[in-house]
């Protein structure tokens, strides 16, 4: 997880907005101490809901913070979007799938969507 970059980015944007730690923390509904820890990369697994609140307030793309936190990761290069299959375009209730199984399922769902569209 590249938390150093996450902390740097949060501090950089907060300062760009001219906000103190307390001001930014209040807007995101978290404690100033927690925000300080985030900026110093001392939080091992920052919660996605907190990153979302910070992204909303600091006006930075949430997906960027999720990538910096290591929660959103690049797909395996060999299997990238042959059918425009965005793996984040669906959510599942399932047992743990392997990366390969999840990729295949995404392809199947992309095919299902296009098949349905062509039959409508």
């Amino acid at each position: 997880m590249d938390t150093e970059k996450l902390g740097d980015r949060l501090r950089q944007v907060r300062k760009m907005r001219g906000w103190s730690l307390r001001e930014a923390a209040e807007k995101a509904n978290i404690s100033p101490a927690y925000l300080q820890k985030l900026e110093q990369d001392r939080v091992r697994s920052p919660s996605p809901n907190v990153l979302y609140a910070l992204a909303e307030q600091l006006k930075v793309p949430y997906s960027e913070l999720m990538k910096l936190a290591g929660y959103v990761v690049p797909r395996d290069g060999r299997s990238r979007k042959p059918l425009g299959d965005n793996m984040l375009a669906h959510a599942l209730s399932s047992e743990d799938l392997t990366r390969e199984e999840a990729e295949e399922l995404a392809k199947y769902l992309a095919w299902f969507r296009s098949d349905k569209g062509s039959r409508a």
């Binding site: 919660s47 996605p48 690049p74 793996m87 399932s94 047992e95 295949e104 199947y108 095919w111 098949d115």
Partner: protein, 300 residues
């Protein structure tokens, strides 16, 4: 204990807002269709990715890949772009289907999950984030189905026991498994619900493999929360209530607390399709506005 998620408060707040938007708060069984509609989602009634006719039309390589995943592992799918929920038609338990629909509603309701649908095609979630999002969706489904604190208030009208759980299951429209879990987690007394495998794995002493455990905060404070993978009758005497219900009621059952003091216990068991459900609790004086004493009978 209720799932200890950092997002727990946000999940409770967002669930309460949806219950209000759907005018569902206080209506039992929980109107799942109204919650789905208030989320501006649809449950696919006809063709779905699970349909045999659809699978037959799929390109050969995709058919092969899906066969390798195996049936039953994917229970429900939320198509964020089509705003459609698909539930495996092979799941015929109405309570289970309701939970799965609300699980998918949860994936859509939590903005920190839904927002990622618009991330680029070259990205995916890390496995640990996937697992976190699954737990969050499960907790959202439970918050919606059991309507936050309203379920615990309703459950407090009953004398503790599996009969109460069976009746609450009917009133809420949830599955027995989900109801038992919520019942134990939200109980004010020291209560623990244990799901065991359907048959013993050993005899003398009788032992069962554990599937899952849910317990109240009072139970955790008094007995801790460490459970071995195999529970045998010698160390866990309440196992005996599976074969002999009388032992669980007036059989002088005791179990040591964290101070090694033997504490009197009651236990009830019922066989279900998921396994043996065992409810264990410390008896206490219960005061009811409306006392509901229900006796559990047979299997569910």
């Amino acid at each position: 204990m209720l799932d200890d998620l950092n997002s727990g408060k946000d999940i409770a707040r967002l669930s309460e807002e949806l219950l209000s938007r759907a005018d569902a708060a206080g209506r039992w069984p929980t109107p799942v269709d109204d919650l789905v509609a208030a989320s501006k989602l649809e449950v696919a009634e006809e063709e779905s990715p699970f349909s045999i006719s659809v699978l037959k039309r799929a390109p050969k390589h995709l058919k092969k890949a899906l066969a390798a995943i195996g049936s039953g592992r994917i229970r429900a799918i939320l198509d964020r772009r089509e705003r459609t929920v698909h539930v495996d038609p092979g799941i015929d338990n109405a309570g289970r289907r309701a939970f799965l629909q609300l699980h998918e509603v949860g994936h859509d309701l939590l903005p920190w999950q839904a927002e990622l649908a618009y991330a680029d095609n070259d990205s995916t979630l890390s496995p640990s984030t996937n697992r976190l999002f699954e737990r969050e969706a499960n907790q959202t489904a439970a918050e919606l189905l059991f309507q936050g604190a309203r379920f615990a208030a309703m459950a407090s009208e009953y004398e503790t026991g599996l009969g109460a759980v069976a009746d609450l299951k009917k009133r809420t429209g949830a599955s027995l498994r989900a109801t038992l879990r919520r019942y134990a987690e939200g109980h004010a007394g020291a209560v623990c619900a244990i799901y065991l495998m359907p048959s013993p794995c050993r005899a003398e002493p009788t032992a069962y493999r554990r599937r899952e455990v849910s317990q109240s905060a009072a139970w955790s404070r008094r007995f801790g929360s460490a459970w071995p993978y195999v529970l045998d009758e010698a160390a866990f005497p309440f196992i005996a209530a599976i074969a002999d219900p009388a032992i669980g009621q007036d059989g002088g059952l005791t179990w040591p607390d964290l101070d090694s003091e033997p504490i009197p216990m009651k236990a009830e068991a019922i066989k279900t399709s998921f396994g043996v459900a065992l409810l264990v609790w410390v008896p206490r004086r219960e005061v009811f506005r409306r006392k509901r004493r229900l006796v559990v009978a047979g299997s569910v």
